[in-house]
Symmetry: C2
Amino acid sequence: MRPYISMITLGVSDIAAATAFYERLGFARSSESQEAVTFMQAGAVVLGLFGREALKDDAKADTIWTGNGGTALAMNCADEAAVDAMMDVAKAAGAQILKQPQKVFWGGYSGYFADLDGHAWEIAHNPFWQLDEGGQVKLPA
Amino acid sequence: MRPYISMITLGVSDIAAATAFYERLGFARSSESQEAVTFMQAGAVVLGLFGREALKDDAKADTIWTGNGGTALAMNCADEAAVDAMMDVAKAAGAQILKQPQKVFWGGYSGYFADLDGHAWEIAHNPFWQLDEGGQVKLPA
């Protein structure tokens, strides 16, 4: 079996507030959503927003369920201007800017923001990676 | 701009050990990888494995960078048998089984495991969601 990622669910403290934040970023709430969970198409994958404690209980995750998690979601952009534009959208949406977009050691350009619950997002341009129309990356084998 | 997720990077304590774990799950290390970072195709998105402290530094994430993070990656499967099979692969690969696959309140079937660094994965069958050939979910608007 070849595994894959089809959804990323973020545990959040206030689903309505988190949903409004991600709508300000430009995501749309799908009609699949319910009061207790929001689903948004995020390119080829689904972004889920679910109560942090409810998700912890659902996962039976117990003591590992704290902090930010050392996890970064990423949106790879076609050029530096698109990175700047998305970081501006994030700032206006109420994100905490962790790192202003800048040239980085691996030859690209990236910034980071944190959402209302501290989940980190990298907005990056990698000149060595090809993107399809939807922004998805296809790696060589 | 319509945002999207193109990559998920997990901060890990030992890149070689984490890479070997994800290879046991069935992911393949791309030739884009380097000693300090592993990239793996994960369906339509890229799974990155990067040093937990290095990623924290890259993101300037400071004090939010602890624990598991209240984040769950997910692999949506076509049926319950595929969920069981993937959970078996995860257990054999050295994952910590958080929740044995079981019928869940929303009408589906799911289990959870944690990887070597505590990142949670849900393996789920949702009878109400359509999957494409690659397992990706396409939500209604």
